[in-house]
Point group: none
Chain length 216, copies 4
């Protein structure tokens, strides 16, 4: 039975079984797609990575395109859900919350293969319109709304100055996403840098940028 790539949002798609082939295939595919791009990815390589034959891919995914879509959809929702869950019922300082979220994201997304997804989507958006829309709606917009909401909370609480929270969220998120993209592309050729320190710096500048001036 093929792993559904059309019902883009239902959660459990494959049942665990011996050796969990679909999961192995998906993570191999994530690696190769995010390294090579969709068109340059050869299914033979994906199969080899997953330790199966090329034909086996077709037991679980009906085409290269379906596999690609499954890769995106499979790894995408957990990303955003995790963040939302973490913020649930939080009542403390927004600044601290954002710091925690960022740290969490760094460890669970940035430093895992999941960070390959944004690059994939950016590169292939125009080749896979519905997928692009799905990603936009389920990740980007939700992330924007989520951060916008946090900033508005901070404004209400007096932590932040009045400002256009929506633009601010967009600013903040841009760098976050870009960092993930960077890691999977030019970072390989760049000098190493301390990602954690950079992200802290980024958050610091950002928070200062939207905070009330100390002396007002």
């Amino acid at each position: 039975m093929h792993v559904s790539a059309n019902s883009l949002s239902d959660s459990v798609r494959w049942r665990r079984r011996k050796d969990n082939r679909p999961a192995e295939i998906l993570s191999s595919a994530l690696k190769v797609f995010s390294l090579k791009g969709y068109a340059a990815t050869k299914l033979e390589i994906v199969a080899k990575q997953a330790g199966v034959s090329k034909a086996t891919l077709y037991l679980y995914f009906e085409s290269k395109e379906a596999l690609f879509k499954a890769v995106v959809t499979e790894f995408v929702l957990p990303q955003i859900k995790r963040a939302e869950d973490q913020a649930q019922n939080y009542t403390g300082s927004i600044k601290i919350l954002m710091h925690e979220l960022l740290e969490h994201w760094r460890i669970n997304v940035l430093e895992t293969d999941v960070s390959g997804i944004p690059k994939i989507m950016i590169a292939e958006a125009s080749n896979f319109p519905e997928l692009a829309t799905f990603y936009l709606d389920n990740v980007i917009k939700r992330a924007r709304e989520f951060v916008t909401h946090l900033i508005n909370l901070g404004i209400e609480k007096g932590e932040f100055r009045e400002c256009n929270a929506s633009y601010a969220a967009r600013s903040f998120i841009s760098t976050i996403i870009f960092t993930a993209i960077w890691e999977k592309s030019l970072a390989a050729y760049d000098e190493a840098y301390d990602t954690q320190a950079f992200l802290n710096s980024h958050l610091d500048i950002f928070i200062r940028g939207i905070s009330k001036d100390i002396q007002e």
Copy 2:
């Protein structure tokens, strides 16, 4: 004679004029590469866009790869040079300079096809290592150094607080580049937004974020 794609930095650049075939090919190629990605780009499409036959491409570029490299190298250097020139001999407020530079970039890069270059490089970095290195060295690092320099100037002048100028530059540039990438990818599926207002907001937050606290 083939347009050199190996001497990645040579200065020959094609100015549009009647029947300037290489330039027409390059700009067609830029469009298609940045829309489809390298592998998914068919030379037939590029040729059609440029109004020539597929075989004609080979009169000017020795291979698809050479054409791709030429696209990147042709359009890249002007980008960064322009910014550097503008800052030359400037002595006023760094904040105002950055605003002017950003505006200039918005008009001359973001709103032209040149903004397709970053997306191309991000997507294909791992497939074209020397090109990636070239781009990294000639655009990214130069941009980083340039902005770092500006920030340091601002610190020296007392406009900005003491901070890690390098990280700050990276923060700033990330959003700038990401905005260009975004325009060529998911923006097509997103609601329109006011890019100029967003960039102003971004700069505003950033400058506030690195400015001295008003009352210190």
Copy 3:
């Protein structure tokens, strides 16, 4: 144990009974082969039709080719034997006998799946030479000889005029076989017609064509 497909004439034939797997497989295979042709037939479809798994086919037939040969050989001999038996010891009018034979053939061959066999053999003759030879020898030639014999009997009895009985038999049989082929191919797209009436007409013309002129 595999059902022999090499000894093309052995007598084992499967009578339907509960769980008579080979027989179910054979009749499913006959249907699919005669609908799609050999190469376009997928064993998965045959298996599904027979209500078994693809692997199960291999318990009974050692290969697709063996299954195909079994299909032909299983259904072929009864066809011709039936006719021969019917003619055995007959002494009456040849014309009437031929009418009875034709009617019998219409009911027991033409209107059953067995009529798919001629189409199969015609289409695949050049892909399965020994099978073609087997079919030729065991069906076509026997049928020709049988009809030739009947016609000669008719000539001897004074029912028919002197004529080339062999050519006449060939003529007669051609239409008979063609009718079976037609039913399994283009008839599906053609207007319905009264097969029985047509066959009667055919026999009538044929008999008149080889009969003595009434008044000579």
Copy 4:
């Protein structure tokens, strides 16, 4: 430019040019398709037969299916048109006309590769429904109507007895088509026979079968 395979009936499809590739491909394809059947035909073989590379086929036909359809449609219409033209304005004996038509058909169809078409259509009808319908309408039905018309003429002229001309035509045509099919299938394994003599015998029996009894 692809050779149209959709406009199933327009006549000139390809322009002659050096070496007339499409025609060479079509006749190679006719040979292979009628020998092997659609599914078992490998384009590599067709290409080799035509003396071109596999890729070249795609310069002229957009797919295997399109090539197949072109094969059928390319060779089909001339078949039937030729017969109709020949009968145009004829006023003599129907029997003699039919003899001439049959002889013409034997030489120009039966003994050329065109005789492969009926076998192809019979075998693949269910895999290519529109093509089947096209063939049915443009060959079979037209042939039936044509022969029916001839028989009716013969009845009017007093050559033939009153009979169901439509069934009679069907009878006559069945053998004709079957003979073509036979030549391209089992005939290869059968003893040689004198086709011309057989066809004459067939026509003789048929004409006698529908003629007025001499003495009535």
